[in-house]
């Protein structure tokens, strides 16, 4: 036996006792030079065949082949080692391949690959990757559904806007004609009925306009046109209107200005819209009147605190514990026969549009105080654009 043959034999014996698959390929010709026992037992003796054909049944060299990177420009081993994972279609197994070049005893430059079967490990990894893919696919579907939903909402809002506009058109006649009827010889009772028709028309017009404002406040498209507003005067008007509600008699509303009864000439000026401020205070006072037991007073206190105009509406009676955390949220109502759950919510939206905030205090047993605060300076332009998040507790 020649020296080369002896060396080859020793090398092959070493490779044979290693418990992983090893194959050796001629770098120049891609012929398989040697396959160790571990692989021979499974794949047969592949020596002499092209590696891509023998191992992967591929007529061309494999796309992932690293063999050219294992030798230098001179064709000699460059000492680099490549380690990578590969799935073998032939036996449906995953391998970690460690590849390096060396000089074979017969003088040829060869690449040897040590292939460790990592199929079990990859099964776990692959299950994880498939779960990740599943999640990403579901996210994509959800995102598309969300886009569709938003489109439907936009469509519905568009139809709502058209409906609101169309509803207002016939009201022109309902509101405009009754004042003219007295010229057509109506008796006193007829004029009274015509007046009732006109008032009903005006009420309906206000309701339609209010829902439109609510929609714009909700969607952040309400553009606030601020002017000087005297909250003291607005609060007194709201108090007067609410206390004259025939359905809730004997619930006087007292307006207090900086600790004393409010009077003509009191001023608590903010930058805002008077109608919207009236709507806020009217809603809150009306809520307080309706929640208050007969014979109890409602107090509206006005003050300045730390650069803010503060209006606190207090009444006897408790907000049910179950809705306190959601008091300013949409459709939250309790115990009121005709409650829509929009009063406190729309007040909160309008306060937010003014750059202010609203809070509920139920800490004193048997009593409720709702406080709204407005900045004394001009509200920032973002105030009406939906900033401020969800209604607070």
């Amino acid at each position: 036996m020649s020296g080369n043959m002896l060396e080859s034999s020793l090398l092959e014996t070493h490779f044979d006792v290693i418990p992983f698959g090893i194959y050796v390929v001629d770098v120049a010709t891609l012929d398989v030079v040697f396959v160790n026992r571990h692989f021979r037992d499974r794949l047969g003796d592949l020596a002499g065949r092209k590696c891509h054909q023998a191992l992967y049944e591929s007529p061309q060299p494999c796309l992932f082949c690293k063999i050219r990177n294992l030798v230098g420009r001179d064709g000699l081993p460059n000492g680099k080692t490549y380690i990578f994972e590969h799935f073998n279609d032939k036996d449906d197994r995953w391998y970690q391949l460690q590849e390096k070049s060396m000089s074979w005893p017969d003088g040829r430059v060869v690449k040897y690959s040590i292939a460790v079967d990592i199929t079990e490990l990859k099964e776990v990894q692959n299950r994880l990757a498939e779960a990740h893919a599943e999640l990403a696919l579901k996210n994509r579907d959800l995102s598309r559904q969300n886009e569709l939903l938003q489109e439907n909402v936009r469509l519905r809002e568009h139809v709502d806007r058209i409906a609101r506009h169309d509803l207002k058109t016939p009201l022109n006649a309902l509101i405009g004609i009754p004042p003219l009827l007295s010229d057509y010889g109506l008796n006193e009772e007829g004029v009274k009925l015509a007046r009732m028709m006109e008032e009903a028309g005006v009420t309906m017009l206000n309701m339609i306009n209010r829902t439109f404002d609510l929609y714009r406040l909700e969607t952040g498209t309400y553009v606030l046109m601020p002017t000087e507003v005297n909250l003291a005067a607005v609060a007194r008007k709201a108090a007067q209107d609410a206390s004259s509600d025939v359905f809730f008699p004997d619930r006087p509303v007292r307006v207090v200005f900086e600790g004393r009864p409010a009077a003509d000439g009191d001023e608590l000026m903010i930058q805002g819209e008077e109608l919207l401020c009236y709507s806020i205070l009217s809603n809150l006072v009306k809520n307080a009147v309706e929640a208050s037991p007969q014979g109890n007073e409602i107090t509206v206190s006005l003050s300045r605190e730390a650069g803010e105009a503060v209006v606190a509406v207090a009444n006897v009676g408790e907000v049910p514990a179950g809705i306190r955390d959601r008091f300013f949220q949409k459709y939250v109502t309790s115990g009121k026969r005709d409650g829509t759950g929009l009063g406190a919510y729309s007040a909160w939206l309008a306060v937010r549009a003014h750059g202010g905030r609203a809070t509920l205090d139920s800490s004193r047993p048997g009593h409720t105080t709702v406080t709204v605060r407005f900045p004394l300076s001009a509200p920032a332009s973002v105030a009406a654009s939906g900033a401020g998040g969800d209604p607070p507790p």
Partner: protein, 125 residues
């Protein structure tokens, strides 16, 4: 699930053989086979299969680019990636390209049936 007309795209003859056998054993029909992404993208408009199984690493054009091109001509195309690549970025790229499913090799009969049923139930009328 009704029998589906399926196009198989893979550069490995071994994988194609296995996929064709499994698909036919599951009662579906392999209507076309392509061995690279470019061929798949070119052939798809004429074949219009119900579903495509797409490898990712292929010569000439990879499966992700082929998926993009197919989706560009048919945004309802149902493409399931059948690949050995489980890296997060690869998964995301394939899904962003429009893949409706992602299966990692080795693909066994049961696993393929499960994925085909899920994808067909969701996307194929």
């Amino acid at each position: 699930m009704r029998p589906l007309n399926i196009m198989v795209v893979d550069d490995s003859n071994l994988t194609i053989k296995k996929m064709v056998k499994m698909i036919e054993d599951l009662g579906h029909k392999v209507v076309h086979v392509a061995s690279n992404g470019r061929q798949a993208a070119e052939d798809y408009p004429n074949v219009r299969p119900d579903l495509v199984t797409m490898d990712i690493t292929m010569p000439d054009m990879d499966g992700i680019e082929a998926t993009r091109r197919i989706m560009a001509v048919d945004d309802k195309a149902v493409i399931v990636m059948v690949t050995s690549h489980g890296q997060e970025q690869m998964v995301m790229d394939a899904i962003e390209a429009g893949a409706k499913g992602y299966v990692l090799k080795p693909v066994k009969m049961e696993k393929l049936a499960e994925h085909l049923e899920a994808v067909a139930g969701k996307y194929i009328p």
